[in-house]
Amino acid sequence: MEKIFGWAGKILWVDLTKREIKAVPTSDFEPEKYIGGVGLNSRIFWELGAPKVDAYHPDNPLMISVGPLTGAPGPFNRAEVCGIAPQSYPQELFAYSGLGGKFPADLKYAGYDGIVVLGKSDKPVYLQIDNETAAIKDAEHLWGLDTFETQKTLRNSHPKASSVVIGPAGETLCRYAIILNETGSAAGQGGYGGVMGSKNLKAIAVRGTGPHKIANPDEFMELVSKRHAANEWLTGGAQSWGRYPLCGEPVNREMQAKYLKRFAGCHGCPYQCMGFYDMPGIGKGAQMCVEAWYGFIGQGSSEGYWEGNILSQKLGINNYELLGIMIFALTGIAAGAFTKQDLGLSFIPHIDHATEPKLGSPKVHHEFLTELLNGIAEGKSPLAQGIGRAAEKLGPVAMNVFKDQYPAYGYMSHHLRNVASALHWATDSRDPFNSCHDYLSFGAVPVIAYYHGVPGGDIRFDEKTGAFTGAKMIYERAEHLAAWVQNNQSLKNSLPFCEYASMPETYFHPPEMDIRIFESKILSSVTGIDYDVSRLWESGERIWNLRRVIMVLRENRERKDDTIDHLWFKRTVPNGQSLAAPLNRKKWDELCTRYYELRGWNPKNGRPTKSRLEALGMKNIADKLIT
């Protein structure tokens, strides 16, 4: 067998119905073209026939893949989970979610590029991988345990293994249940914890002690040393909102002074963007940005913020969705759309204790969080199936409140800022927030714009005044910016390369170094295959096209579906964190046409064309698509 670098060369293929395990060569899925992570998962999903089944059907494959860079020192140690996502609303769509931690690298060291889990076990099981060997094991003793207890129990039986697990929320098929590694690294979006639960798969434990082979180690070291010397992987903006809670100064200060034990982060990454906190009586764990979901709103207490995170992580609930739930609940109740009782809540501190310091005592927050989160994890809360499905039952006003926060396929937070990002939302199959930092207002857009000839975005550089101005709602060439970020996102989720450690703001020194030059060099040094910038970029475009083909064939995606909700053409949410003005229908339609033309797709129906797919080396896929 030819010597392989970067990739391990095998995918672990598990059928829980038949209780069969085998290893399939990664080369069956064209890894040189689709790289790994989301690209590899999408290619496997395609090979499985992109099944038109529900998310909780046994034929929905749960795919967890790493990439050729995974295992190497640097911000590369991530895995991507793909499958039909129960969280998508209104239709369940093929989507993705990434996680870091220790598990991804250990999977590579064990000798696998990915795991595909099909079927359904008739009783709770976990998958145990010890380098070359793998076994399906009884998990009756783990079922019902929280995510921390489950991992600690597995560590007793398999001391050097790292695990991804689900909590009670995954077991009850909550549509936004997470898959968690350690205390703070989760595949949160998509609801893939529920997919594991539907298969009766409680955990995957992996011990890997083998090599990650690098074709040109000296070249790799040289590239790494330059990033190190440039200080990019040591300090950066994401550290400030990852290590410390973004809950206002009193909480931030108190948490740092009293409870911050040390920084934390993913395996092999020098960036270490998380903070590990230990609050007696509540718990210990790592936080990164949205883990502060409960503390984001109002000026609450440190205890409330921390219990919100620890309890949700233990129960296995998506913190990002919980932030959406809080906004939905508070906005909807204020608008008279529904009552707290409609949401299964006896009180909400932000309403019922609004006048008290810190929105009430720690006990108040404890009681609220316990009622909300246990209700979700037990499947009893009206919110357990997600806000969209809850809003349907709560009536049309509730639906409008929902759509204000959920423009397309997920909670927007501050990730819908300009026309280009709206186009990205409209053409993805989930919220694209893991790549939307490229659109945000940290100066990223002008950097990309100037060095890649993409004059879009919400910020412009005024050469006369030498300052950036906040011009918004720019339609001109916004399709170029969206396509650039989408291709870049496809690569970041496939190499993989962490979003936080690769943001242009901390990373972009053109012309000698931009992210594409670095990515192509590092991938070439690791794999020994010559990826120049254009070849790598073509891979990004190819992965995006494959996902589009899956949308078209499996989900009947058409041009008319490529939109954010119609409300956003009439009004916006005036919070300074979203679109500055309503979208203009005519300009939007023209923009979409330009986008399809840029992509080489049919502007009439938004389908990829055979000729474009063939030009991207996807003839095998083009042959099955009627355009």
């Binding site: 600690k152 205390t183 083998g210 090599p211 082979k213 300090t235 909102w241 940290f442 100037y450």
Partner: protein, 193 residues
Amino acid sequence: MAISKKKSVTNRREFLAGAGTALSIGAIAGLTGCEYLADTSIVTIPANGRIKHNPSVCTGCGVCSLMCSLYHEKVVHISLSRSELVRDPFEAVYSINVCRQCLSPSCYQSCPKKDSALCIDQATGVKYINSDQCDGCGECILGCPLEPARVKLNPATKLAFKCDLCRGRGKGPICIEYCAQNALALAPGNGEV
């Protein structure tokens, strides 16, 4: 259309300062230190020096052991790293098993070919293995008083290997250089096991 890098950075900083959000304050921090440094400094190994680990700042990322194997073995392979990271991510407690460069080294005393296979650097006191002379008998591993033994056997080459403080590397031990948390340092040996 091209604007100079320096100008661009300055303007971005000004822009961000104006934005004044909690998030952008962090982004400003990221703007500093973007220039490439030409670090040619030579690290001096102290007499009887050893790697010292500070568990109060270590985050357990393991960059130390990855860089170690990459430098010495040209492969990322935690089993071939000279230092072994022991992690408890639920308590955020981390320790490192690495050679302590004992003043009375049992590994050296146990080596049947001492001074040709297992040697002591006369200038620094570093105990190192001369691979050309090692027969892989494993006596040094048995001789190490620490658990687990800080000398290990490479299963592929059947040769012993151990931390030699990256002897001959001008910038000193690579694990120290790449530890982003400054959790590793060179400490003078004090004879403790």
